[in-house]
Amino acid sequence: MAVVAQPHDAPEGHVINQTHAEVTRDVVATLGPPTRGYVLLLLGAVSLFLIGIATFLVLIKDGLGHAGYNPPVFWSVYITTFVFWVGIGHAGTLISAILFLFRSPWRTAVYRSTEAMTVFAVMTAGLFPIIHIGRQWIFYWLLPYPNERYLWPNFKSPLIWDVFAISTYLTVSTTFLVFGLIPDVAAVRDKVSGWRKSIYSWSSVGWKGTDNQWRHYSRAYLYLAALATPLVLSVHSVVSWDFAVGIVPGWHGTIFAPYFVAGAIYSGIGMVLTLIIPLRRALKIEHMIHSYHFDNLAKLTLLTGSILLYAYAMEYFVAWYSGNTFEQTTFYRRAFGPMWWAGWSMIICNAFVSQLLWFRKIRTNLTSLFVISIFINIGMWFERYVIIVSSLSNDYIPWAWDQMNPTWADWGILLGSFGWFGMWFLLFAKTFPIVAIQEIKEMIPMPRRRGGHG
């Protein structure tokens, strides 16, 4: 993976030098028979997922004691990983909805893969609160349903807000993804034959691309984007309030919502890069996702990474400036306490590694971008781990302090979540067009008899 070929590096780099027929052909080609590498990757993902399943079965049988929950730390790796995956999801909606409203044409090539990533990341995240509650079979107690004791959930609790925010987010992002897929599935339907044709016919729900269908569809897409835009900002704000509403030192900060949203988008774009750099090569779509797109993704990473740098600095500044001993102790111990290694991993991977992206050479070099994206993934997982565990393990009374050490059950579930996510993403990439056929075509001017671009 060296520097990408640069045929499209002109300012109008998003223009694709292909005809409509070539776009359909190349994207439909990605759905062909799986290669050896793909099968190996999928097997790897499924194996990780099975590790997660095995761990989960032990947890169901014996209880959460395996997960290293000891006083005072009862939120640890599962909640960390929950926030991690929810955060990953945010980049997809940012790219598919917010950049759609801002009319950023470069989003077109990458938005389908990021949106799929969103749906699968939120699907993964949604498992964690359920794993974490310990008695999974009564998870529905979180929902407001009529019951014989006339009890309702406490709507003043951020944990209930979270139930609503995450389930809304999962529903709306899935809807947005499926909705965007309809015309593309129809285009695939008209290119394949046999049993595949019947499956795609069924899932294209009778799409013919008539003027009337487009008229309603385009409008609806705009409204879905407009609804998803505030949603994406709200979801991670609500997740941050799970912490910020609690009066735990290191959590009780007003900057938590914007700080978490920026972090979420940052981690999400990190994951996008980790996924699409190998994917474009495996699916032979290098001419559709090229250095122009990576340059833009890297700039977004730089922006959100700089917001994180500022937020980290502010957290330390406010801890010092507040004169609050508990706040000061918490932040001192994050850098120099027993968890210093996690604290510095978070600061270095997030705030400093992203600053390398000021250099254009690094932004357009796929090897360096891929390495940076791995750092981002690690750093953002540690960010949540540090926030959650370090605050809980050293709160107000030193007598009650204790350290938390992740156990095999924590790692098993964490690995399982990567397997679950990877499995869905890989299956999606081989089943549905991973590049939005219809939207790419919309950017390519149709041929004209009289020449020129009208």
Binding site: H20, T24, D190, G209, Q213, E442, P445, R448, R449
Partner: protein
Amino acid sequence: MAFLKRSSKATATRAAGVVASFLHVDAAVDAIRALRAKGYRNLVVYTPSPNHEIEEALEHKVSPVRLLTLIGGLTGCTAGFAMTIWMSYDWPLVVGGKAIASLPPYVVIGFELTILMGALSTVAAVALFSLLMGQRGTPFDPRFSDDTIGIFVPTTPDQLGPIEQLLRSAGAVEVRHEAA
């Protein structure tokens, strides 16, 4: 419900007519303008992706989807606040003499349900307008989802000839007749 009429009329029966394929967008626009000038307003135009020139030539009204988005959003917002307030009073938990139903935290639920219901009703609206009441019975060619623009003109048998003539002179690459 005037906006429902257009599509239901077009799909009432499987209509006879002429199907033309175009590879050039300006040729298709010329054909649409010419047909509309002659009074053919029931055209069905197929494109691989939405195209502004064709939309302009067809002079569509703004899609009624927005109305259902609005209704869905407002319903969700009302439902969110109504549910939380009603449930708070249904089993009052008085803590420190504070308000039983306190609106600021309920904004979160109201907001989430606004988005949820807004999005779902938007999709339901599209399903209603363009899939269910949609284009059953109109002819289709697999190339229309690839790189070809199609125009279907429903008409009576005696008009087939002149319409074919018109379409060909506008630049259709292929014209075929569709039996009822």
